[in-house]
């Protein structure tokens, strides 16, 4: 190899590396967000309850906000608008999904936590937000959220807001999901 060829080969290797690095950044960013709580991204997997005693010395207010989106004829309602909890204490709240249309429709609720630092300390044991849901035409379903704020929640945080935004799920994507989620999703 001539020196020029050597240089070119090396540069091209770096180039290709950088192209794939850009794609690698997508999962890396996701992991980074979940580890640091950046962006208020909440976990998308059920977490184990951490066995710690509730810190009865303080209360934290947890607010629940629900938002609908265009293209999904659903309504989501937090049956409890806000609760006051001790850090460490597992709590269950109910949400009601209503499908206002006559057809069965797939959708999902995407969570966001603010302040974003709190998302690290919000453990969800059960949540409808982990997967797509199917709701029959005109049906109303209640689904629980069981969560726990860990005791190491920073002292100065005394309000945590959890927002769920409904999004339609593309029919094409659903067809592959049907076998896996229709059972739990549909009848939950």
């Amino acid at each position: 190899m001539t020196p020029v060829q050597k240089t070119v080969t090396r540069t091209v290797v770096v180039l290709i590396g950088m192209f794939f690095f850009a794609f690698a950044l997508v999962p890396l960013y996701d992991v980074f967000c979940r580890v640091t709580g950046l962006n208020g991204k909440a976990a998308n997997q059920p977490q184990a309850m951490s066995n710690e005693e509730a810190d009865t010395s303080r209360y934290v207010t947890v607010q629940f906000i629900t938002r609908s989106s265009k293209g999904l004829p659903w309504e989501l309602e937090a049956l409890t608008r806000q609760v006051r909890v001790h850090p460490g204490q597992p709590t269950e709240v109910e949400f009601a999904f209503t499908n206002n249309s006559d057809d069965d429709v797939w959708g999902r609720a995407v969570p966001s936590v603010t302040p974003s630092e709190a998302s690290l300390h919000m453990r969800k044991l059960t949540c409808f937000c982990f997967q797509e849901q199917l709701i029959g035409g005109g049906e109303r379903i209640e689904m629980p959220l069981v969560f726990q704020l860990t005791r190491d929640l920073p002292e100065d945080i005394n309000t945590v807001t959890l927002v769920y935004t409904l999004y339609p799920v593309d029919n094409d994507n659903v067809s592959q999901q049907v076998q896996t989620t229709s059972l739990e999703g549909g009848d939950a």
Binding site: N39, G40, T61, Q63, I65, R67, S68, S69, K70, G71, L72, P73, E75, N100, S101, V110, S112, V113, T114, P115, E117, P154, D156, I157, N158, T159, T161, V163, T165, Y167, P168
Partner: protein, 370 residues
Amino acid sequence: MRMVLAWVTGMGAAFLLAPAVYANGWNMPVGVTEISQDIYSLHMAIFWICVVIGVVVFAVMFYSLFRYRRSQGAKADNFHENTTVEVLWTTIPLLILVGMALPATATLQKMYDPSGADLDVMVTGQQWRWHYEYLDEDISFTSSMSTPGTQIRGEEERADEYLLDVDNPLVLPVDQKVRFLLTSDDVIHSWWVPDLAVKQDAIPGFVNENWVRIEEPGIYRGQCTELCGKDHAFMPVVVHAMEQDDYEEWLADRKEEAEAEANSVDREWEMDELMERGEQVYGSVCATCHQDDGSGSGEFPALAGNEEMLDDVDWHIDAVVNGVSGTPMAAFGGNLNAVELASVITYERNAWDNDTGDVVQPSEIQELLE
């Protein structure tokens, strides 16, 4: 020579003008919150540091240009290195930077104060209006620009608040910590009021937090600052800050109105009433896309003479309440109440020679919403 003189006069004029400019209110507003005042001081401090550095550097530069002209017989020296000078001009800027970073850090820490708020307001950006929801008060409304198209097209004289006025301003109490939760229904918007020094992106699917404690009653105006499509220039923010008593009075009125409207859902509405209310709602919510005369624009279909809509009342109601997927048409079921929805649908079915004669009653819509 002439060139150097011109430069010197130019730069001199610029520096002399700077204070005049700032006295004439061309500067960043001082604002009405502690944070905005801190930011203003920070801004002025950095500005003057930059001016001083600029004066020193440019003075040396213009002195050299003037003094060492070849036309005046200057002979070039040959030096090209001096470790002492180089160490100095690396170290001194570093120290100045540390000096700037300290107050900036302190202000920033103050802004990230997570302590509890007295009032929570959810701010939702929508193409091209803002939706406000008082979380603890069960009040929500949409705030759209009220400057008429005739002023924009220059057919009418422009008002003082041209482009900066809305139908429903956000009303906030003074001396209370108000927390904003910001999000968006479509693209990224950014909610900004310069006097409050709050600028925060509203991102679809995510929630951002910010807060303000306004010190003086008044009307504060701002605009969306993130490019959000064609009417980006036309989604102003207006905050009306009131004393606590006035705020509570406003709140009570607002609730009463909402209650009255809620109670009126069950009664039979007259066509005229619905048309009147509908025109109002249409102007504030629908007209940015479908135009005042229902003629539509670009990807937004005309409503005047729209057969799909006029032939099928149920389709029309569904489109307004739940949106039309695959199009920019948003779902208004969550934003507008039954009366507003019924009246705007009635209005659309009868305005601009649509004349279907259809009357959609609020009670029908209410049933649908439940």
